[in-house]
């Protein structure tokens, strides 16, 4: 059994495809730091003009086409108030007064949320962030004010970079793991007569594959975070390990960064396990790497391209395959899972993993007969 396990591990990391994917991911996490800073991703200073323009345009547009009624007047005042509150945040940013910036952000988020309570009547064509984003901003702003943290508005520490990486790579981890494990059960197909003669049960073989696939993929994700952290840490310093990060525990809340990282990697472990189970089943059904890849990606695409559909189909794992959205709770908002925080989606993923494994076992048994 130990020999089988060893064989599964060796087969995994000696695979040219997996070496290429791993190199690609590690290079990306290191190189994206440069791109993010160069392109101003996650840089609130660069966004100032944009937000201001957008809020102004909203006010004008609403002013022109939707005045006259009392209800609508309330919305108009709300839009105006957003504009004024943002001016405060902006002043804080320009003056380098971080508490003023934090207060301003808090006000903008509060007023935008109040706008949602008004129903935003007649605002179909305005540019207003969706309610979840507003709540997220509000939670972060509150967390910052309460914990007396200096707000970060640029990528200038390892921590701020890691928080960015959690969001940027979050949607893609599923595909990366799928790419790594998309041929996990195929050696059984290509070397059928050899593998069929090994004196171990298919269950033991699958278990060896599952352990190898899950642990190696997870190791790569951890490696990616370490690469990102070290790159930014060496370049700019590490920053504040207790900086608040928004996640969900039934309702949106903030946790210190170190805890957020642990939670995130735990979610990654569960997602990895699920993905390997999915790859095993698809391999067993299709005997083809690309079909496995495309079928898995199709599931992922539903969550990415049709969020409404994935909210309706909350019990099918599609929206929650986006690790970033899963962590912040965006993936489960407006579904029965929202109240369960991270526990519900984790249970759902594990439940599906069990189902996939069962189906895989059934299919293998049928194939053997």
């Amino acid at each position: 059994m130990a020999a089988l396990q060893h064989f599964a591990f060796t087969a995994f990391w000696r695979n040219k495809k997996n070496i290429a994917v791993a190199l690609f991911l590690l290079l990306f996490t290191a190189g994206f730091l440069y791109i993010a800073r160069y392109q101003g991703i996650g840089d609130q200073l660069r966004q100032v003009t944009g937000v201001q323009l957008s809020l102004n345009a909203n006010v004008n547009r609403y002013d022109q086409y939707a005045t006259g009624q009392k209800r609508k007047l309330a919305v108009y005042h709300n839009l105006l108030a957003q504009k004024q509150a943002y001016a405060e945040a902006q002043a804080g940013m320009l003056l380098g007064d971080r508490s003023m910036l934090a207060e301003g952000n808090l006000d903008v988020a509060r007023i935008q949320l109040a706008g949602y309570r008004l129903g935003y009547t007649g605002t179909a064509d305005l540019n207003i962030p969706d309610e979840f984003t507003v709540r997220q901003n509000l939670t972060l702003a509150k967390g910052l004010v309460h914990s007396n943290h200096q707000i970060q508005f640029q990528i200038n520490t390892a921590i701020s970079y890691l928080i960015l990486i959690m969001q940027v790579l979050g949607p893609w981890f599923f595909l990366v793991i799928l790419l790594l494990t998309s041929d996990i059960w195929l050696d059984k197909q290509t070397h059928l007569s050899v593998m069929a003669n090994i004196p171990v049960t298919p269950l033991q073989q699958a278990l060896a594959k599952l352990t190898a696939g899950t642990s190696m993929s997870l190791l790569l994700i951890i490696g990616a975070f370490m690469t990102a952290g070290m790159t930014a840490g060496v370049a700019f310093g590490f920053g504040d390990w207790t900086y608040p990060v928004v996640t969900t525990a039934g309702q949106l809340t903030t946790v210190p960064f170190w805890l957020a990282l642990i939670l995130y990697l735990t979610l990654a472990a569960v997602l990895t396990f699920f993905t390997v189970c999915l790859a095993l089943l698809l391999n067993s059904l299709t005997h083809n790497l690309y079909v496995t890849l495309f079928a898995g990606a199709a599931l992922w695409c539903v969550g990415m391209l049709f969020p409404t559909a994935s909210h309706w189909l909350w019990f099918i794992p599609t929206g929650i395959l986006n690790l970033g959205a899963l962590f912040t709770g965006a993936a489960t908002t407006q579904t029965p899972l929202a109240l369960t925080g991270l526990i519900g989606p984790v249970a759902l993923l594990l439940g599906w993993s069990a189902i996939l494994l069962y189906l895989f076992g059934q299919n293998e048994r049928r194939a053997q007969r």
Partner: protein
């Protein structure tokens, strides 16, 4: 005799599960695009009589002796233009509408100063979406573009001008919008996916193919031609489905319809010229055909060099989208080398509309330079292929 080899490769190609899966994915994506995205398209500059009327009536009612001086000066003109627009729409005279709407767009555009702290006029809302910091520049670009197009359309005598033509909804214009939106990149990705295992797959049939009296170069060229044809075929299929799903609803459009091209002559004001849509599409096909050949050949070459089918997928696939490594608004004006980088020219639609010039803020990103660079790259890859395949003991299959 190479034809027979090609024939067998062709049969194998379509029996390959990966290629079947790629084709299916493209088909599903095409249908989703044609039945979901195309019908929900909202033009940035819609023909919207309700809003025109509301704005006009509001401006008219606000006009009083106590209005601001700018309002006193501007509103009568804007109201007059809006009335003319409404009258033209009433008579379904879209040429007349285009002529007046153009004046209004330019009139408003002149009154928006990106440097001013307070704005009295605004561009359509999509320009401000996602807190776009370049909203006013993008809006100005859009205004100039729509003005140039409207002027050309109002003078266009090659066919009927409908609302769909103005809103770019006809089949050919939808195709052009899709191309400008980045279709080429996805087709190139398709080419890479179709070509990546063409060489490595032969390993499973080693003894059948290794003794064939065919030079490796010929065999490789047959494979390249095959993947090239398949990708071009998929492109044709996409275009056909797109046309079939739009032609009955919005009309086919015409190859003569003017489409815009941005110019940014150094030291002079930027402007738009127009070219017939047919010319745009023809130029696109030329660059597309070359690029697909380049990517197919490159993928095959990489799969020979690495003796693996996944590494070329990552490398060639990654290259398609690698412009993001250096692309930043206005980068071309500062770093001239970016206008000589091949990666800049993969999104052909944006080269042909001149949007890439706007993005890079340089007039040098042109069709001709694209042709030069892509053609040069094709020649370079051909040279490498020639050297690799003509080594004395080289064999495609090991």
């Amino acid at each position: 005799m190479t034809m027979m080899y090609f024939h067998v490769q062709w049969l194998r190609f379509w029996h390959n599960r990966k290629n079947q899966a790629v084709t299916l994915v493209v088909l599903i994506a095409t249908l989703a695009y044609c039945f979901y995205s195309v019908p929900s398209y909202q033009p940035t500059w819609p023909i919207d009589p309700v809003t025109i009327k509301a704005t006009r009536d509001r401006r008219r009612s606000e006009l009083s002796p106590f209005s601001t001086s700018s309002a006193v000066q501007d509103y009568p003109i804007l109201v007059k233009q809006a009335t003319a627009e409404l009258a033209a729409l009433d008579q379904k005279d879209y040429r007349a509408y285009a002529a007046v709407a153009r004046k209004q767009v330019l009139y408003v555009d002149e009154r928006i100063d990106p440097m001013a702290s307070i704005q009295f006029y605004f561009y359509p809302m999509p320009y401000y979406a996602d807190d776009n910091p370049f909203a006013l520049y993008d809006g100005h670009y859009g205004s100039q573009e729509i003005a140039a197009r409207y002027l050309a359309v109002s003078r266009y005598r090659g066919g009927t001008v409908t609302g769909n033509v103005l809103e770019e909804r006809t089949s050919l214009q939808t195709l052009q919008r899709t191309i400008s939106g980045g279709l080429t990149l996805f087709l190139l990705l398709g080419a890479v996916f179709l070509a990546n295992d063409l060489v490595t797959n032969d390993r499973r049939h080693r003894t059948v193919v290794q003794g064939l009296p065919l030079t490796p170069w010929r065999a490789l060229t047959a494979k390249t031609g095959l993947a090239w044809l398949a990708t071009m075929g998929i492109t044709g299929g996409f275009i056909l489905i797109l046309i079939l799903t739009t032609v009955f609803r919005y009309g086919f459009g015409s190859l003569g319809i003017p489409t815009t091209l941005f110019h940014l002559p150094p030291g002079r004001t930027a402007y738009f010229s127009t070219t017939p849509l047919g010319l745009y599409l023809a130029k696109w096909l030329v660059l597309l055909a070359l690029l697909i050949w380049l990517f197919t050949r490159l993928t095959l070459l990489l799969s020979i060099l690495f003796r693996n089918e996944y590494i070329p997928l990552l490398l060639a696939g990654g290259a398609i989208f690698s412009q993001a490594l250096y692309l930043e608004s206005g980068v071309g004006a500062i770093k001239n080398w970016t206008t000589w980088t091949l990666l800049t020219y993969f999104d052909v639609g944006k080269i042909l509309s001149g949007y890439q010039k706007y993005l890079y803020q340089t007039d040098q990103i042109t069709f001709n330079r694209g042709l030069l660079l892509i053609g040069g790259a094709v020649l370079l890859v051909e040279l490498i292929v020639l050297l690799v395949t003509h080594r004395r003991h080289f064999a495609l299959v090991h």
